[in-house]
């Protein structure tokens, strides 16, 4: 299996990591790694966007060449909820 090395960051750009993952990993694995490593809430919906290409990665998307190239920047973006 080949690995791909890329950058992952939070949407507010306050957290950043260099990650090396197997290309058979999925978008959901990246989000889970960010949630685990940065103690992000687990009861939130997140989007994953490749900032370098502008493409979104759905949870089941494999990290293949068409979606993640070495050095790309991926952003984990939370849905924000408010109430009264």
């Amino acid at each position: 299996m080949t690995d791909v090395k890329f950058i992952i960051r939070t949407a507010d750009q306050t957290r950043k990591a260099e990650v090396e993952m197997d290309r058979s990993s999925m978008g959901s694995d990246i989000v889970q790694a960010a949630v685990d490593n940065w103690a992000l809430p687990t009861d939130t919906d997140y989007s994953l966007v490749n900032i370098s290409t502008g493409k979104s990665l759905v949870p089941s998307q494999l990290l293949d060449e068409n979606f993640v190239k070495p050095g790309d920047i991926l952003e984990v973006q939370p849905v924000l909820v408010a109430g009264t």
Partner: protein
């Protein structure tokens, strides 16, 4: 999987760097509030854009705030210069879900001296306060000491701001709108 954290907390510029951009009377006025709580200075263009956005509906609306915080050890001034309105959302008169695309709307506004400094939303005709849900969102995703949560009731014309993960309320006297002229208008007036 190999995970190498590269997060850095960038040092905030000193408050003097913000004061230098003001006229002398404005700088003096900003210093003379009788309290040490952070000052929130919203550009008038941003404030007007926020009000125009939030007044457009009886349902809750919101978005992100872009600007710069100043202060060496603790944030002393949070300058809010742009707002990024959420355009993909689900809302009622008492709830709001902003889809993640709001971050893509804010991103082109970011750069040197322009970071995400918080978020804003409306409570139409319910008063400006921070609900339990609002506190949870602030604690979860606006975790910097300078992170602001601004709530506006566009009908009752109320505005309140809360800072940091603990959602400490900013005194109304410390909320200021900074116009193109050298005129400060406290949001409390």
């Amino acid at each position: 999987m190999r995970w190498q954290d590269q997060s850095e907390v960038p040092a905030l510029p000193p408050t003097a760097a913000f004061l230098e951009t003001l006229s002398m009377p404005d700088a003096v006025r900003l210093g003379r509030l009788g309290n040490m709580a952070p000052r929130v200075v919203i550009s008038s263009a941003c404030f007007e854009a926020m009000i125009a956005h939030l007044a457009a509906s009886r349902d809750e609306l919101g978005g992100l705030l872009v600007g710069q915080a100043y202060g060496v050890d603790t944030p002393q001034v949070v300058a809010v210069r742009h707002c990024a309105a959420s355009t993909a959302f689900d809302s009622t008169g008492v709830s709001l879900r902003m889809e993640a695309d709001v971050w893509n709307i804010a991103r082109p506004l970011l750069g040197p001296g322009a970071a995400i400094v918080g978020w804003y939303h409306s409570h139409p005709d319910l008063g400006a306060f921070f609900s339990d849900t609002d506190r949870t969102t602030q604690r979860s995703f606006f975790r910097q000491a300078f992170s602001l949560g601004i709530v506006i009731d566009p009908i009752r014309r109320e505005m309140r701001a809360f800072i940091g993960p603990d959602c400490v309320e900013i005194p109304p006297s410390n909320m200021m709108i900074h116009g193109p002229s050298t005129f400060f208008q406290s949001a409390a007036e």
